[in-house]
């Protein structure tokens, strides 16, 4: 196999790993920021009343610690363009977009400390597809009849404009356990 053949095979493998160009993020719960359009699930109760910002967990080196990479540990259930590649970061929307008030929560293990964290995959909305750093991982994803665990739903649904631009991955706290279904 020549070098280019190997490259082509890598491309094929990568395609095989990616299942969805535009979908949304796996969910373990949901909460509303500054509203009560949906019931707050227990997992979100500890965070609904304040703005967070108590400091992020430690990060590791390499792709699992790089927010512009699909391998980043917080992205274990993400499905979309990474805001870190679009003018924002894993916690910040790009200029001119709006962070979706409705979201859904995954659980990802941080290799830096071995702990599981609850991750809120807030979409950034109101501009068209970012088009960079597409990433789809489906740990814990469920069909759309179980909406707050479904990463196929356009979660800009609660925003001013439902046009999807990119996705963030905010830590909202420690989770006691990881994903149950293995």
């Amino acid at each position: 196999m020549t070098g280019l053949d190997a490259l082509l095979e890598r491309y094929a493998r990568r395609l095989a790993r990616r299942s969805d160009r535009r979908g949304f993020l796996a969910a373990l719960g949901a909460f509303v920021v500054g509203g009560a359009a949906l019931p707050l699930l227990p997992i979100a109760r500890g965070f609904a009343g304040d703005g967070g910002a108590k400091g992020a967990p430690a990060e590791v080196a390499g792709p699992e610690g790089d927010p512009t990479r699909c391998e980043y540990w917080r992205h274990c259930a993400i499905d979309g363009f990474l805001c870190s590649c679009c003018g924002g970061s894993q916690t910040t929307c790009p200029p001119g977009t709006e962070m979706a008030p409705l979201t859904w929560i995954g659980t990802c293990r941080n290799p830096a400390d071995g702990k599981h964290y609850a991750i809120s995959y807030n979409d950034c909305c109101g501009r068209g597809y970012c088009g960079r750093c597409f990433c789809n991982r489906n740990e814990g994803d469920r069909p759309v009849y179980h909406p707050y665990r479904s990463n196929d739903i356009n979660w800009c649904v609660g925003s001013t404009s439902q046009v999807y631009h990119c996705s963030t991955a905010l830590v909202i706290g420690l989770a006691e356990e990881g994903q149950p279904e293995k």
Binding site: R21, R22, G23, D79, N138, Y164, P180
Partner: protein, 401 residues
């Protein structure tokens, strides 16, 4: 500076051969047996192909959906419907949702019907709207994020009613003026409309699957009054909607224990297809771990639904050569094509669809490879590849009943 004098290209008027201007093609009155719509989320249209010739024969547009527009044919009306939405300023401003009515033969826009501005945008694109068997009502799934459906009267061309379906999702026509939805508590619910399109009756099945332990995917296939669903672990649940209440038959498995242990599971987007006349169920499968339920597969296993057993395995060829051929400007069947076919690995496909005629074809698509494979659904042999079939999109839609 007149062009003709400058370029010296004056026509010899006595000797003209010329083409007629203003001609626009039309489609045959009835869909061909192997026609296929390919929705595209980036090009924001659905392209119509003839699987026999491989030619693109038409297109309808749809700006809004993250899955690409899904054309829905009502054969008796001779119309095609596309649920769409616009913002007053393309990406911002007031949102307006509507159903575009296309003439099925000319593909001209016959009209439109405004609907509540909350039609769902879901990346897998499956069962987001449907024309009921009566061909009178179109049902559109809404999410804002509460779940409901909009009922559209196709005869009167107007929105009739919105029906809340809390906890349930999507639209599965079940006969007459009835449709079902799948629910987050492991049941199915069926709604019957009255002659004016308002809710007449609601019936719910017993719980037939566990949403956490082994949920069914939304990508069911219809067999008359029954819908067949497959679970993440490969259990087939057949739900019968012919009675007063939906009733699920005992589940059967697509996989043996040994196959399951070897990691075989369902996967992809539109991963099931059914040829009704022969009761052959096509299931896209792969070997993978937890969380791989959306991964593409390179094998389609075929089951006899009555016997509940596998009768055939179809190997899905790599679509990479068909994808790369136009990029590389290679001739089909030429040396470069031959080389590509030998060297290209197989990333598999996300979606499958089968036609309902006596010589059915199985269409296969990878969401990010702009090519569609056309496979003999009985022999499993590759008949052709359609290249330049789009940029990105999840579904394959065979028009017709």
């Amino acid at each position: 500076m007149l062009a003709a004098t400058l370029i010296g290209a004056a026509a010899a008027a006595a000797d003209i051969q010329s083409d007629e201007r203003g001609q626009v093609a039309v489609l045959p009155a009835a869909p061909g047996p192997h026609w296929l719509w390919v929705p595209d989320r980036v090009l924001r249209h659905a392209a119509l192909f003839d699987g026999d010739s491989g030619a693109m024969i038409g297109v309808v547009d749809g700006a809004f959906s993250v899955s690409g527009p899904a054309p829905i044919l009502a054969p008796k009306r001779g119309e095609i419907y596309v649920v769409d939405a616009v913002y007053a300023r393309a990406y911002r401003g007031e949102r307006k949702d509507y159903v575009t009515i296309y003439d099925a033969t000319t593909l001209a826009v016959r009209g439109e019907i405004e609907i509540p501005p909350r039609s769902a945008s879901i990346s897998h694109g499956c069962q987001l709207a449907a024309v009921l068997d009566d061909e009178r009502f179109l049902v559109v799934f809404n999410q804002d994020p509460a779940n409901s459906v909009s009922i559209v009267d196709l005869e009167a061309r107007r929105f009739v009613d919105e029906i809340m379906i809390a906890g349930c999702a999507l639209v599965y026509p079940t006969g007459g003026s009835r449709f079902a939805a799948l629910c987050g508590n492991g049941t199915a619910v069926e709604v019957e409309l009255d002659a004016t399109g308002h809710q007449k009756r609601v019936a719910r099945s017993a719980k037939f699957f566990d949403v956490v332990a082994d949920p069914v995917t939304e990508k069911g296939v219809r067999d008359g009054s029954r819908w067949l669903f497959a679970s993440f672990a490969g259990q087939v649940h057949a739900v019968d909607f012919s009675g007063e209440q939906p009733v699920a038959a005992p589940a059967w498995s697509l996989f043996t224990e040994a196959e399951r242990a070897a990691g075989w599971r369902i996967g992809g987007t539109q991963h099931l297809a059914l040829h009704r006349a022969t009761h052959r169920l096509y299931s896209l499968v792969h070997q993978g771990g937890p969380g791989s339920h959306k991964d593409p597969g390179a094998a389609v296993w075929v089951y006899d639904v009555g016997q509940e057993k596998r009768v055939q395995e179809i190997a899905v060829p790599s679509l990479l050569p068909a994808f790369a051929r136009p990029l590389l400007e290679l001739e089909r069947g030429g040396w470069g094509d031959w080389l590509l076919r030998r060297l290209a690995p197989n990333p598999g496909v996300h979606s499958i669809a089968v036609t309902q005629d006596a010589a059915p074809v199985l269409f296969v698509r990878h969401e990010e490879i702009g090519a569609v494979g056309v496979i003999d659904a009985l022999s499993g042999a590759l008949r052709r590849e359609i290249d330049e079939a789009g940029v990105s999109g999840p579904t394959l839609i065979v028009p017709g009943p």
